[in-house]
Symmetry: D2
Subunit: 270 residues, 4 copies
C-alpha cells in the first residue's frame, strides 16, 4: 500500500479472484476441470455437490450415502426458526430468493452448527481410541471433557423427539456403506460408543439426533467439519424454499409470529 | 382486533402456522405425507426437491430432466455478483451459512429472475399459438411486444458467451424427454421459434441462454414461473458454497473487490 | 468483451469502483468532500445521514424535521415481522450484525415500501393540482385511480390503530416547518386532501398512517421515493437492534414463533 | 413437551413474545415506557438510539459523545467489503433494503467486531490496573497475553492509514467528556497505555484505529461490548445505504468485482 510499491497490474486484479472451482471463458465453462457439457445429463445433483466441494468425482457408494444425508434434513416444520422466518419473509414483498436467504442466515452455530461440533466431538473419541485407549473409555473421557465446557452435547438428544425417526434409517445407510467398504465406520463406532455412555444409568437415553447422524455421514465421507454446516445449508434450503413458496400462495401480508387476534394482549407480560 | 372479537384460542395460534409441507410430532416426521424414514436411502436429492415443491413424487424421467437443469447452473465464476459477494463475506468473520445467504440474497430479478420472466415470455408465445396463430408469427408478435417494454429479452443472448456451452446439452435433454413422452415439448418449440425470430437478418444470432434453457426445462416440467427462480437458488447455492469454502481456506481478511495495491488510486475518477 | 478490444488497464478497474460518496486515501478520509475530522464532534447523526444521501449539508430546520421522522418509526413491537425475525435470529448462534441484517431484509415492498408508494400517490395529487385541478378533485381522482389498481392505499389506514399516535406529532412538525419556510407544504396539503376523500360518508375514517406521515416528511424534504424506504431502514434498524439485543440476554436457543408447549398440536390443521 | 404437561394457554403465547423494549396497543405506542408522541420532535435520532438500547434517557453530554462515534464510522469507501457487496447487490434487481441487509450481514467478527474485542482488551488492562498493577505494566501484560492468542491486536494499527484521521478528533471528544465529567476516562487511559506499549522501540508506531477509538467511546459510555458492534452496524448502515443508492442511479446490471473487460483473463491464475 505504500507509495514505493511496484505499480499494480491488471494481472494482479485477475489473480485476486483466481479460483480452482470453476473456469469461465467465452463459450467455455469448466467446473473443477470438467467442461460443463460433460456433466449435464450424466451427473446427479448430489454428484455435482460432491464434485464442487471436493474437486473430484464421487463413487456411486459415496454419492448414495451423501444423498441419504441431504434428504434427511430438508425440513423440520415451521416451528424451526429457519423455516418460520422464511415464511414471514415471504409475506413482506421481497423476492423468493431473499426469503430463502433470510432462512439460511439463521443456520448458525446453534441452529445448524451442531453437526460441525459433533464431528469435532467424534474426532476426539477417535483420536483417543487411535492412541490406544479403549473405545468405551475414549467416549466416556470425551463426554466428560465436553460436558465440562457446555451443557449441550452436540449431536445427541432432542428437545422434541425421544428417538429421532431419521436416526435408524440414516445410520443403517452408514452400516451398509461400511459393509460395502465405501467408508471405514470409525465415526459410526465412535457415535455408538457415545450413545452407550449417555444411556448408562438413565431412565431416558439420549440417542444420537439428526445433527449427530449427519455428522457421522459427513465425517465418514471425509468432509471437513465446517462443510457439515455447509451441506446442512444445501439440504435445509429445500424445506425453506418449499415453505416460503407455500406461504406466498396464501396471500398474507406482513405475517407476524402470532395471529392478529392475539396482538392486543401480548405485551402485558413485559 | 377490536375488543369485542371472540377470545383467541391456542388453536388459532397453531392454525396460524398450519402447513401441508411437513408434519412434525414427537418421534414422527412426515414430508408431504411421507414418513421421513421411507425417503432416506430410497429418494435422491433431486427427488426430494420435487416432492417438497410439488407435493407428489417425480417419475424417473421427470427427475432426470430436473437434475440436468439443477446441475447446469451451479456456478458461473467469481465475476458473478452472487459468487463474488459470498467470497468476500467468507473473509469477514461470519458463519459459512451467512456467507451463503449473502450470495443467495443477490439472486434477484436481474441476477436470477430471467428464468422466471422467460417462462412468462414463452407462455405468451404458446398462448397465441394455441389460439390459432402460427408459431413463427406468435414468436414474432411476442418478441415485438416484449421489446417494446424492455431492451432485455429474458432468456436470450449473453453478454459473455456467443453460444452458451450449456445450451445444447440441456436442450438435448429436453428433446430426449419429449421423445420419451415425459414432457410435451411445447415450451421447447416456443423457445426455438423465438431464437429463429432473433436470428433473422442478423450477423450475430441471439441464442437462448442458460436462463432460457432452464426456463424451458422448468416450464416443460410444470413448475410455476416463480419456482424457476427458486430452483435456480437451490442450484446456485452449490457454487456459492464451494466458492465461499475455497475462500475460507485462503485466509484473507476483509477481502475487497480489488487487491489492496490498487486502492490508493481508485477514487480519482469520482 | 471481444478479443479485439483494447487491453484493459488498472485505471479501468479503479474507475469501475469510482464514487462521489467518499474518498479514502492513506491518512485521509473525505465524506462528500468533507474531511471526516471536520464532521466528528460538529455534525449530528441525522446530519451525516442527510449529507451522505444528499451530498450537501442540511439546514437546522431540515435536520430537525428529518430527525422527527427517523425517531417516529424505530419500532412497532415484536409482532412486526422485521422485529420478530431478528429476535429469532438472535437465538440461533449468529452475530448481532447478522440478526439485524435478517430483520432489515424483510423491509420490502409490503413491510417498508408503503412510504415509497405513498410518495408516488401524493405526487399524483400534486401534479394534477399543479395542472389546474382543484385539490379535492385531484385527491379524489388519484384515490379512484389507485383504488382501481390495488385494494391497499399506501400510507392510509392501519390494521391496528384507529388513529396512529405518531400522526399528530409528526404532521405537527411538518406544519411548523412550513411556518418556518423550511418546506413548502404541498405534500402535506395533498395528504390532508386524500384523508378528507377517505373520510367522506364513512363511519370510520381512514387517517394517514405512519408510512404516510413519513412519506410527507421525506417528500417535503426533497428525498426521492426510494429513499423513503432507505430512511425507514435506518430508523427501524434501531428497534431491530434493541430487540435482538434484549433477546440475546434471555438465553433462549432456536426460538420458534410459538412456545414449545404448543408445538405438538400445531400441524393438526394442515 | 411431554403429553402430561398442562394445556398451553394463549397467555403462554403472548408471554413468549413479551418485551420491555416497546409496548404496542391499539392507538398507543410506548418506547421504553415513553409514549411515542412525547419523543417525536423533542428527541434526536442519536437520543432514541440510546433510549432504545439502554432503557433510559441520555444526558446531553452522553448524547454528544455517542453522536461523534456514530458519525465517525459511516463509511470507509467501496473497497470495504460491506460497501462493495451492497453496491453489487443494488445492481441485481433486489430491494434497497435487501442491498443494505447484504452489506450489514458482512459486519462480522473480522469486519465489524474489532470494537467489541477491543473493549474486552481494554477491560483487561483496567482490571489489572484496578487490582493495583501500574498502568504501563497492565498494558504490557495485556498486550503480551493477547499477542499470544492472535497476531491481530483488535483496535490498534491499520492496513491502510499510518494515523487514522478519525483518531484525534474522536479521542478529543472523549477528553472533553472527561473534562465535563460525562465519563471517567479509564478506558481512554488504558488505550493510551496500550498505544505507548506498541510504540516502544518501533520505527512505525501502531496507533489506535477507528475500531479502537469507538471502543473507547462506547466503553466509556457504559455500553456492553456486543453493542460496540451493534452501534457500528447502525453507523455503517448510513454509508452502505448511500453507496447502494448511488449505484442504483448508475444503471449497471449484475455488477461484478471487476469491469467486464477484465473477465476473459481472470481465471488464468487458477
Amino acid at each position: 500500500m505504500s507509495r514505493d510499491q511496484p505499480e499494480p497490474t491488471v494481472r494482479d486484479v485477475s489473480d485476486w479472484w483466481a479460483t480452482s472451482v470453476s473456469r469461465v471463458e467465452p463459450d467455455r465453462i469448466e467446473l473443477r476441470g470438467h467442461p460443463v457439457q460433460d456433466l449435464i445429463g450424466s451427473m446427479s445433483f448430489a454428484g455435482i455437490i460432491w464434485l464442487m466441494l471436493r474437486g473430484e468425482t464421487a463413487t456411486p457408494g459415496q454419492e448414495r450415502l451423501l444423498e441419504a444425508a441431504l434428504v434427511s434434513s430438508v425440513d423440520h416444520g415451521p416451528h424451526a426458526p429457519s423455516i418460520a422466518v422464511a415464511r414471514m419473509a415471504a409475506t413482506c414483498g421481497i423476492g423468493l430468493n431473499n426469503a430463502v436467504a433470510t432462512g439460511v442466515n439463521l443456520l448458525g452455530d446453534v441452529h445448524g452448527g451442531a453437526g460441525e461440533q459433533c464431528m469435532a466431538l467424534l474426532d476426539d473419541v477417535r483420536r483417543l481410541h487411535r492412541d490406544g485407549v479403549g473405545l468405551a473409555v475414549a467416549a466416556e473421557t470425551t463426554v466428560a471433557s465436553w460436558r465440562a465446557r457446555s451443557r449441550y452435547l452436540p449431536g445427541f438428544g432432542h428437545r422434541f423427539h425421544s428417538v429421532d425417526p431419521r436416526r435408524d434409517p440414516l445410520l443403517g445407510q452408514v452400516e451398509r456403506a461400511v459393509a460395502d467398504r465405501v467408508v471405514d465406520g470409525s465415526y459410526l463406532r465412535a457415535a455408538h460408543a457415545v450413545e452407550r455412555v449417555l444411556a448408562e444409568g438413565r431412565a431416558r437415553p439420549v440417542p444420537i439426533n439428526i445433527d449427530g447422524c449427519t455428522a457421522v455421514v459427513y465425517a465418514e465421507l471425509g468432509f471437513p467439519p465446517p462443510l457439515a454446516r455447509g451441506l446442512f445449508v444445501l439440504s435445509r434450503s429445500v424445506g425453506i424454499l418449499a415453505h416460503a413458496w407455500e406461504e406466498t400462495g396464501q396471500g398474507r401480508r406482513n405475517k407476524g409470529p402470532m395471529p392478529p387476534s392475539i396482538l392486543p394482549t401480548f405485551t402485558d407480560g413485559a
